[in-house]
Symmetry: C2
Subunit: 257 residues, 2 copies
DNA sequence: CCAGTCTGTTCCAAAATAAGGAACCATGTT
DNA sequence: AACATGGTTCCTTATTTTGGAACAGACTGG
């Protein structure tokens, strides 16, 4: 275990759910001995990767993370194009859109595009969740081989919401269906009461991949509205996919098969 | 030099001006030998602190920085209060507002509040610059002792725009004036053609400090407009300052002296 | 084809750092 | 005083990190 690895183990303890942690919490979460924890926290603080509240003594991400995080794909061409197109989709449908990337078998929301619908799904940028339980997450997984997918799965298979896949085999079945149509849907999964449709985009040149989704209330969205969303997403996928050379969307569906 | 220190040296090479860097550029910027550079970049990539474009081979901040950066003071009470108040100031004055923190003798913009004025100053969140050359930067420095300020200055004193302080003595003189009034101004400094007014806020309990500023076109903003901005900022400083127990703004000016 | 350049990677022994347990410290509570 | 919590420092051992050298791959020009 390298010093950098230890540092990153600590950094990974912080999340939306736990943006601040105490000495003891970090020690428990990492399993590091007291002295190692103390030294490493001091080093991280001095490096500005963490900072410490003077009163509560709790640690939180530091200024350097803010600075670097701001730079993360700030001028990414694929994300820029997708975001522009998604804004139009969300303007027309009224629903909330998301752009995410895959990390292991998690997905991380990079961009959120608000819709105008009064019933609002809010899952802010920076939100991490299982890719297995979301439409765009599964769409991204569908771009990998079955072997690659299986290699990413944690053991044991994670406990997921009731409508999500509950085994590797079930996941692969879902993924096969997504590969056939290019589109992916979820209903009452990652967030109860919320449904979504999504697809993946992959830049042929760079291998960069993102997942795009539009979320809406499961109960309040009738089938014809869902069909509308599906058409909008397909049109968007084709428009952006043709520019970036996406293997699925960059040409006609017939030729892709 | 620790491994973490080396890693951070590399991370600090990235900036708004240089969001992506090649192997050779990182090597040159850090002075690290080739083999050290190669190993450390690999470790940073595996840790998701950096990622690498597959085509250009250039490195850039990775997903973990995005994730942690999102958490940075996301729910900070002082910043939240200041941002709410600043939004009202900017709505009333039409100009752009900023909230920044001090890092060494630099300042880092954390929040930008757009104004409605058609002539727009844009200095996005994540922007780093010398605190010596900005109104709110100097206001934050004014909250430190002269000794503390001098300890933060790089040697030699940095080359700064023409209206900025050009020596430690000149800076201390400016700072003394800010300490007297609580307010700080700049004109044609960090950005040519741009003027700003600012002040600092310091949470008595936690020691947390931020600098607030409103920027506007130097040429297009007459004195009565500037006076209006000054009054707005003073009112904001008092309102927020009294809540957080700021030493300067948390009570009347007479009692503070 | 060969040589040179650029972008890296790997090897290896020495140097440096990091590690963990134990002792210690400071503060607060019973 | 004893105990609990949040740490810090010491010290010896183990592990990691280091940098120069050798190597590798891709590309360009003669």
């Amino acid at each position: 275990m390298s010093a950098l690895g230890t540092a990153v183990d600590i950094l990974r303890c912080f999340s939306e759910a736990r943006p601040e942690l105490s000495f003891a919490e970090i020690m428990a979460a990492t399993g590091l001995p007291k002295s190692s924890t103390s030294r490493m926290l001091r080093a991280l603080r001095e490096a500005r990767l963490l900072e410490q509240d003077e009163v509560t003594r709790r640690f939180r991400p530091g200024l350097l993370t803010f600075e670097l995080g701001r730079l993360y794909r700030a001028h990414d061409d694929l994300i820029g194009r997708a975001e522009t197109a998604l804004k139009e989709v969300c303007a027309r449908t009224g629903h909330t859109g998301y752009i995410a990337v895959l990390d292991g078998c998690d997905q991380m929301v990079l961009r959120m595009v608000p819709g105008s619908n009064p019933l609002r799904v809010v899952s802010p940028a920076g939100q991490r969740g299982s890719a297995i339980a979301t439409s765009n997450g599964r769409a991204m997984l569908a771009r990998l081989s079955d072997t690659e997918i299986l290699a990413r799965l944690p053991v044991p298979f994670p406990v997921l919401p009731r409508n999500s896949p509950h085994s590797p085999a079930e996941l692969l079945g879902r993924v096969a269906e997504i590969r056939r149509t290019g589109q992916s849907a979820s209903d009452n999964e990652a967030i109860e009461g919320v449904a979504s449709q999504g697809f993946a985009l992959c830049n042929r040149e760079t291998g960069e991949m993102i997942g795009v989704a539009v979320s809406y209330s499961s109960q309040a969205t009738p089938p014809e509205e869902r069909a509308h969303v599906a058409r909008e997403l397909e049109a968007m996928a084709r428009a952006v996919g043709s520019v970036i050379g996406d293997a699925v969307w960059g040409q006609s569906r017939e030729a892709a098969r």
